[in-house]
Amino acid sequence: MEMIIISAVWCPDCLIMKKEIKKIKEKYPNINYIEYDYDMDEDKIKKYNVSNTLPLIIIEKNNEEIFRCSGAKKEKELINIIESIGL
């Protein structure tokens, strides 16, 4: 199970969400976290078809996308997402 996080250094919401993701990483160590930078990893993120808002969180199970959301999310919101998917 993978959580793909696409962010950028120039995006304030991405900077804010970094702290929340750190807490989630500690709480759910079994999830594989993959972080991409929108500008540095341009080629790698092409396949995710990023819309026009960052940060973008994509959850994949067996290489299939099962969840996607954009904008800054707080720890509680991220926990709710993870629990509802049942990771």
């Binding site: 120039w10 995006c11 304030p12 900077l15 500008d39 026009n52 960052l54």
Partner: protein, 402 residues
């Protein structure tokens, strides 16, 4: 007998002279006013009231919409040594009274009663206008006007929690600070600052980081200030030409509606700026931050700030333009314009400065949630919309009693 006759002759002569001097004479009152100025309106009503009480002739000169009258008022003020552009301005004989309140009323009536063939300064100026193009012997107080007149237009209001507040002294700085703060949360140029910070943090030279970052921020502030100063003549013209004022008001209404709609339509998160524009700006920032010579790097930062902010102005021009309009409507001194624009810029930059200082001290980039910038669209939109409505229907409210 001859002595008695001479004594009687001189006695009657003195009595007659005195009778002539106490006899009420027609007093010319010159009122310089602005159309839409609330204090001027009150003074006009008051002068009309006392018309029946005294033998007076009122000469009215509208100065906001009539440049010849404005010029005449400036010349009369120059002749009296008064250096301020305020209306209402009343001239009786050789005294000038700025503003209007209860104290002014007693000054006006005192002067009417004690006119005594005073020199008519307005007539004197009209006879030789060019002579009064410059200020003569500046005075601190208006001629023969009591000290109370210093604060003629000031309105003291009792505000809960704050107590007695002088509306004139606090309203413009307060408006400058609040609109500047709302404008500061506008995210138009924030992404550039954050990218710059991310590159600066990467370098090990703290002194260089501070110099380059502050060069960018100060230059950005300067662009904004220059833009507002450049708009001032247009804004002043708009106060005197009704049609231009209506056009600006319509612009404010449209910008306000667009901002309010933007609040409801915009998704949470950071909007991605077009690839082309972003990459161009990023490559310039990289080039200048990596420049070995500090002076060239600083010049690069200044050029970058100017180009980027001029482009981004299109995104956030509404509030500074409208704020400049409010300033122009208040007929201020040049130093006051500069002061209020500086307050606006300071508060506009406040969030950028906080983010920059935190990053430079902690070496970690931080940001203010896009939720706040989205909210600033709503507040900014409402401000624009309200100013637009006031410009059309009640422009005198924007004059804040000046």
């Amino acid at each position: 007998m001859k002595k008695i006759f001479l004594t009687l002759f001189f006695f009657f002569l003195i009595v007659l002279t005195n009778v002539k001097s106490v006899k009420a004479e027609n007093v010319d009152i010159y009122l310089f006013y602005g159309n839409g100025c609330p204090h001027c309106k009150s003074e006009k009503e008051y002068l009309n009231e006392i018309k029946n009480k005294y033998d007076i002739t009122i000469h009215e000169y509208e100065t906001w919409y009539d440049s010849d009258n404005e010029k005449l008022m400036t010349r009369v003020k120059n002749a009296l040594g008064i250096e301020n552009p305020y209306v209402p301005f009343t001239v009786i004989g050789d005294i000038g009274i700025t503003g209007f309140n209860d104290n002014t009323k007693s000054d006006i009536e005192y002067k009417i009663k004690n006119y005594n063939n005073s020199e008519n300064i307005v007539e004197k100026v009209l006879a030789n206008p060019e002579e009064y193009d410059t200020l003569k012997n500046k005075v601190i107080e208006d001629n023969n006007v009591t000290n109370e007149n210093k604060d003629t237009n000031e309105e003291i209001k009792d505000i809960p929690l704050l107590g007695k507040v002088n509306v004139k002294k606090v309203s413009l700085p307060l408006i400058a600070a609040s609109i500047g703060l709302v404008d500061g949360f506008n995210p138009c140029a924030m992404w550039i600052l954050l990218f710059l910070i991310s590159l600066l943090i990467g370098s090990n030279d703290r002194k260089r980081m501070w110099i380059l970052g502050l060069s960018f921020l100060i230059s950005s502030a300067l662009v904004y200030a220059l833009f507002m100063v450049a708009w001032l003549p247009v804004a002043r013209l708009a106060t005197s030409v009704g049609l231009i004022r209506i056009i600006i008001a319509l612009f404010a209404l449209i910008a306000g509606i667009v901002n309010i709609i933007g609040y409801f339509k915009k998704e949470d998160g950071c909007e991605i700026v077009s690839d082309n524009k972003r990459k161009k700006i990023f490559s310039k920032i990289k080039k200048f931050t990596k420049e070995k010579h500090l002076l060239i790097a600083v010049i690069g930062m200044v050029i970058l700030a100017f180009t980027v902010n001029v482009v981004e102005l299109a995104c956030s021009a509404g509030l500074p333009l409208l704020f400049t309009q409010v300033l122009a409507m208040n007929n201020l001194y040049t130093s006051e314009y500069i002061l209020y624009i500086s307050i606006y810029i300071l508060f506009f930059l406040l969030d950028d400065l906080i983010i920059f200082f935190i990053a430079m001290i902690t070496l970690k980039a931080t940001g203010i949630s896009a939720k706040y910038s989205k909210f600033s669209h709503l507040i900014g939109g409402i401000i624009l919309f309200l100013i637009g409505i006031l410009l059309i229907f009640k422009p005198e409210i924007l004059m804040l009693g000046f």
